[in-house]
Structure formats: structure tokens, C-alpha cells
């Protein structure tokens, strides 16, 4: 890979409210799979086929407070990646969802101003996140967020925790 890692991701948004839980994002009966594409078929299934269709046409999930609350299932993040989502921008995350998102290579940003600005602009449109610059662009303006520590940026650039670790192994040549 010689191309510079893409740190700016985004596109069409799909909007959810507060306290979206992991049973809504990916129901427990599908948890025997770790294939993001297979999981994506069932992402947001409890909300019906219209929402699922809209999800697949979207690149950014925009949500209110406490997104991803409930179980610690990593598939709540990977099913979104499988559906083509590149970033989640929320007022706040449940801590384990945030950790799982970074570890599976999904950009997750807490930026209440951008969430509010999109809502004020009618709740539809595009949103772009640059996690290197620490900015979220959407209708109504560009907003900053606390930049990730270097370690998290490296995990995202490598596409998740395991690819990152495998890359580190390869570079070190040894495993302790």
C-alpha cells in the first residue's frame, strides 16, 4: 500500500435519536457471524426495511446521546462498516461502542454541535469527518472535536486493531 491513508470520510447521512441500543443495531440472533457484509443484512432490522435501505445508501450515521448502549457486541460497529458506513457522529457514545468502533476501523466522533447543526438544517444532507484535522463539516458549518490520541489514529489508519497489530508484528519481525 503506497497511497496515503484517507483521514477524511463522509457522505450522505442517516439520522437516529438518543439511546440507540445494540439490540436495535444488530439483534442478538445474528451474533454468530463476524462477517461485516453478512451482518449488514440485519443491521437495524428491528426498525424495518425502509431504515435498512436508507442505511445502505448512507455513509455517515448521525445520532444523539449514548449511541450503542447495551451489549458489548463488536458487531454493532462492524455491521455498520459492512453496510458501507464510514463514520458515526453522535452527541455521545456508550464507551464500549466507541472502543469497538475504533478497534474495527470505524470512525466514531462525538460532536454535539454538528449533530445539532444537521438537525437544524432539516436532518438531511451530507457530513464529512476529518479525524486528522479534528473537524466535522455539515450543513450549517464546520465544527471541531477533540483530536484522537496518536495511537487511535494509527489503529484507524490501519483499518482496525487487529490489522494494526499484524502490521506491527510484520514490522518488528518478532513477537514477544
Amino acid at each position: 500500500m503506497t497511497t496515503a491513508p484517507e483521514t477524511r470520510v463522509g457522505g450522505k447521512t442517516i439520522t437516529f435519536g438518543d439511546d440507540v441500543n445494540t439490540d436495535v443495531i444488530i439483534p442478538g440472533r445474528y451474533l454468530v457471524s463476524i462477517d461485516p457484509v453478512e451482518l449488514a443484512e440485519h443491521a437495524f432490522e428491528p426498525l424495518g426495511p425502509e431504515v435498512q435501505k436508507e442505511l445502505k445508501a448512507s455513509r455517515v450515521v448521525v445520532a444523539g446521546r449514548n449511541f450503542g448502549c447495551g451489549s458489548a457486541r463488536e458487531q454493532a460497529a462492524s455491521c455498520l462498516t459492512g453496510a458501507g458506513v464510514r463514520a458515526v457522529v453522535a452527541t455521545s457514545f456508550s464507551r464500549v461502542f466507541f472502543r469497538n468502533a475504533i478497534n474495527t476501523g470505524l470512525v466514531a466522533v462525538e460532536c454535539p454541535q454538528a449533530v445539532d447543526a444537521l438537525a437544524a438544517a432539516g436532518g438531511r444532507g451530507e457530513m464529512w469527518v476529518d479525524y486528522d484535522q479534528g473537524t466535522v463539516e455539515t450543513a450549517g458549518g464546520t465544527f471541531g472535536f477533540a483530536p484522537y490520541p496518536q495511537g487511535l489514529r494509527e489503529i484507524l489508519q490501519d483499518g482496525g486493531l487487529i490489522p494494526h497489530l499484524m502490521r506491527s508484528f510484520a514490522q518488528e519481525g518478532t513477537v514477544r
Binding site: 441500543n21 442478538g28 440472533r29 449514548n66 458489548a72 456508550s94 464507551r95 464500549v96 486493531l161 487487529i162
Partner: protein, 424 residues
């Protein structure tokens, strides 16, 4: 430093840590259940594929299946068994009990440890004075299994002090459910929660257990109860006993925030769909028809719950339109219930005994409901769709309320005040 900070400092080889710092710490226990363990094994074998240097630190409990209902599920359990055998991972097979209860009763969790797991209720082990945190499978497969380590941000601590003597008929579970509503779901994101105050101090070990259990609902990273003589006496009953000194916080001034609550006027509670924090008093929820009632799950299926149900059902029977499932949280609890004569008493009152497991949690091997059905139970989640139809309802309550509702066929309070107090 408080307990959490001391444990993180010890495990990361530092003299001290400060809230906000990120440390890489040695992990003492990885707890997996049959579903999360399968995912971790898949990720590990397909994407990591290295030796596991400390397999004795990993424990897998089959608790979502006491028996696999489909061929696919049987295959998953077989794959787990083969993986555990290959690496020497400790396996507790079907019938062992709920993941967290079986791990504790098996002597796998001791004070001062760092405990991680994919189950979001893993922080419950803070009841023993551990640092217990839920992580996802990739963390386990990528760092915990091959290196025995994980990264942690040192959390700010919030001390939750509970004062007062509860009313007769109000149990520890009622207070725990009430507390979620008082504080607010997700309101303490990333924090460490210390459960303290005279009410917690006087509570039995298994009543204390119900408080760190709710840290996930509040959004917190972990919760703990400062180890004391109650903790020590309990740990001495476990296999291996107390194998080190009890860890302690340095002093009382080590929590960033203190929240104080008076529990003396809290009535018995029911958490109604769609979330754990949507609580009402049992009196307000009374009259809702329930076809299912169940003792079981991470917080239920304790000996205390079974005793409470037996007391409530003394001289009464389960309503003809309602089924009461009893799922002991561990084999030890089932043996204790047998010894106390509770198995026969509840059987004769119309209850059905199920094997030690996590029961109807997520309806993996039992507990699915059709649209319009309702269950009242001691489980830890009530999100719509978790047990079959999204139009089925799950209500969370104390064992006494569950038993009283099973007898009434609808949500009802325990008839006799004081009957549901759990024995210390």
C-alpha cells in the same frame, strides 16, 4: 489512589496513575460465554493465529445454552470445545450456570484482579473488589490472548453513597433499579463507580453484587465495592480461598464526585420496556398481564432470589395462565436450594426448574415470546426484540415481585410486607 487506580498502577508496573492517563495493563482473567467465546476464537484463529501464553487466565462458560436446540448451535459449542482443548483454556460446559456466577463460584475471580470480558455486564465482578471491564472480541483476540494485556484509560471515580434503611418489602434489586432511573442511563459514561455508604456496607455479598451489575446501564466503565470483612468472608468460601491480601483504597477523598441517595422511601420497582431506567413503582405497574415469570440471569437465580420466591409462594400457586421458570445461577445454588428443600416447595407451587444457565437472556435456547406476550423477570435487559417479537414486553423486578406476579398472573407486589427481604 482508590481501588481502581491502585489495581491499574500495579498491573501496569507504575507507582501511581492519574485519571485520564492511558495505561497498558496485564489482564488477570478473560471471561467468555459460549457466543462471545466463539467470536473471539474465530477472530483469533483467522486473524491472529499465535500461541496463547497464559491459557489459564482465560475462562469460557457455556451459559447461553444448557443444551443446543439446533445443529448450528451444536456446531458452535463443538468448535468452542475444540478451541479450548487446543489452547488449554478453562471450559465450563452446559449446565454450569450463568457466566459471571459460575466464574465466581468456580474460584476464577479474586479481589485485586483485572477482569475483562465481552459480556457487557462483566463489571459486576467489581463486587469482589476487582477492576472489571467489558471489551470487544478484537481486544481479546488482538491483545489479551496473545500478550495478556489491554489498554485502559484511567477513569474518574464517582462515589455513590446509599444511606437509610429500606422499607419492608423493598429489596436490593428494587434499590438498584431505582438508582438507574435516579442517575439516568448513560449519565456516567466512562466513569468508575464506587458503591458505598451505610446501606451498601450492611448488605450481604450477593446483594452488593446487584450494584456493580448496573454500571453498564449508567454508561460507566467499571464499578466496585471497597473490599471489607463481608468480601473477605465470602472469598474464603470460594475454591482457593483468599490467595492474597485484600486490596484497599488509600482514603476517603479519592472520588472526583460524590452522589448521595436516601433509600428509605424507595418502593418496590419494575423496569418497564424499553429500557432498564424506565422504572415505575410496582403499584403503578400492577395489573399488567404476564404469561411468563422467571428467576435467572446475571442478577437473578441467586439462592436469595429462590428463597424469596419460596416465601412469597408459601401456601399459594402459580397462576394457571402464567409459567414461572426458575434458573439457578450456578450448580452450587441448585445444590443449596435442594438442601434447603426449596426445589420441592417451588415445584409443588407450580414453578418449573431449568438447568443452571443464563436462562432466557436473548432467547438463545429458551424464553422466546410471540407478539403480545409479556415476561416479568430478574434479568438485566428489557430492550424490545431481545426475546423474540419486538412486540413482546419484558419487565424487570425483584424475585419477590416476580413470584408475586406469577401467582397473580399479572404484575403484583409481594403480599406480605417483609417477605421479600433477602436473607443475609
Amino acid at each position: 489512589m482508590n481501588l481502581v487506580e491502585k489495581i491499574l498502577a500495579r498491573a501496569s508496573g507504575r507507582d501511581s496513575v492519574q485519571p485520564g492517563e492511558i495505561v497498558i495493563a496485564g489482564v488477570d482473567r478473560l471471561l467468555m460465554h459460549d457466543l462471545s467465546g466463539y467470536l473471539t476464537s474465530e477472530v483469533y484463529e483467522k486473524r491472529v493465529g499465535r500461541p496463547i501464553p497464559h491459557p489459564e487466565r482465560a475462562v469460557m462458560v457455556f451459559d447461553h445454552h444448557f443444551s443446543p436446540p439446533t445443529e448450528r448451535q451444536a456446531e458452535i459449542l463443538e468448535a468452542n470445545r475444540a478451541w479450548a482443548r487446543k489452547h488449554g483454556i478453562t471450559l465450563m460446559d452446559c449446565g454450569s450456570g450463568n457466566l459471571h456466577h459460575a466464574a465466581v463460584r468456580g474460584g476464577h475471580v479474586k479481589p485485586g484482579m483485572i477482569v475483562v470480558g465481552s459480556d457487557s455486564h462483566t463489571p459486576v465482578h467489581g463486587a469482589l473488589g476487582t477492576l472489571a471491564v467489558a471489551l470487544g472480541n478484537d481486544s481479546h483476540a488482538g491483545t489479551v490472548l496473545p500478550y495478556g494485556k489491554a489498554w485502559f484509560r484511567v477513569p474518574e471515580t464517582v462515589r455513590i453513597e446509599l444511606h437509610g434503611v429500606p422499607r419492608p418489602g423493598t429489596t436490593a434489586r428494587d434499590i438498584a433499579l431505582w438508582l438507574v432511573a435516579q442517575i439516568g442511563e448513560g449519565a456516567l459514561n466512562y466513569r468508575a463507580l464506587e458503591f458505598a455508604g451505610p446501606y451498601v456496607k450492611q448488605a450481604s455479598f450477593w446483594d452488593r453484587w446487584l450494584f456493580p451489575l448496573l454500571t453498564v446501564d449508567l454508561g460507566a466503565k467499571c464499578g466496585f465495592v471497597e473490599p471489607d470483612e463481608v468480601t473477605e468472608a465470602f472469598v474464603r468460601t470460594l475454591p482457593g480461598g483468599l490467595d492474597g491480601e485484600l486490596p484497599h483504597s488509600d482514603g476517603a477523598q479519592d472520588a472526583a464526585t460524590v452522589l448521595r441517595y436516601d433509600v428509605s422511601e424507595v418502593p418496590a420497582q419494575v423496569a418497564c420496556p424499553p429500557t432498564v431506567g424506565n422504572t415505575r413503582s410496582v403499584a403503578d405497574a400492577a395489573g399488567t398481564r404476564v404469561g411468563w415469570a422467571e428467576l435467572g440471569g446475571h442478577g437473578g437465580g441467586r439462592l436469595e432470589d429462590i428463597r424469596a420466591a419460596a416465601e412469597v409462594l408459601d401456601g399459594r400457586r402459580v397462576h394457571p395462565d402464567t409459567r414461572l421458570n426458575i434458573v439457578p445461577s450456578s450448580r452450587q445454588v441448585f445444590a443449596e436450594a435442594l438442601a434447603e428443600g426449596l426445589v420441592a416447595r417451588l415445584h409443588e407451587a407450580g414453578a418449573t426448574w431449568f438447568p443452571p444457565s443464563t436462562g432466557s437472556n436473548q432467547a438463545i435456547n429458551m424464553g422466546a415470546m410471540a407478539a403480545g406476550e409479556a415476561m416479568i423477570c430478574t434479568h438485566s435487559r428489557n430492550f424490545p426484540g431481545r426475546n423474540g417479537s419486538t412486540d413482546a414486553a419484558v419487565y424487570l423486578a425483584s424475585a419477590a415481585t416476580v413470584a408475586a406476579s406469577a401467582a397473580a398472573g399479572e404484575i403484583a407486589g409481594a403480599a406480605r410486607p417483609g417477605a421479600e427481604r433477602s436473607a443475609a
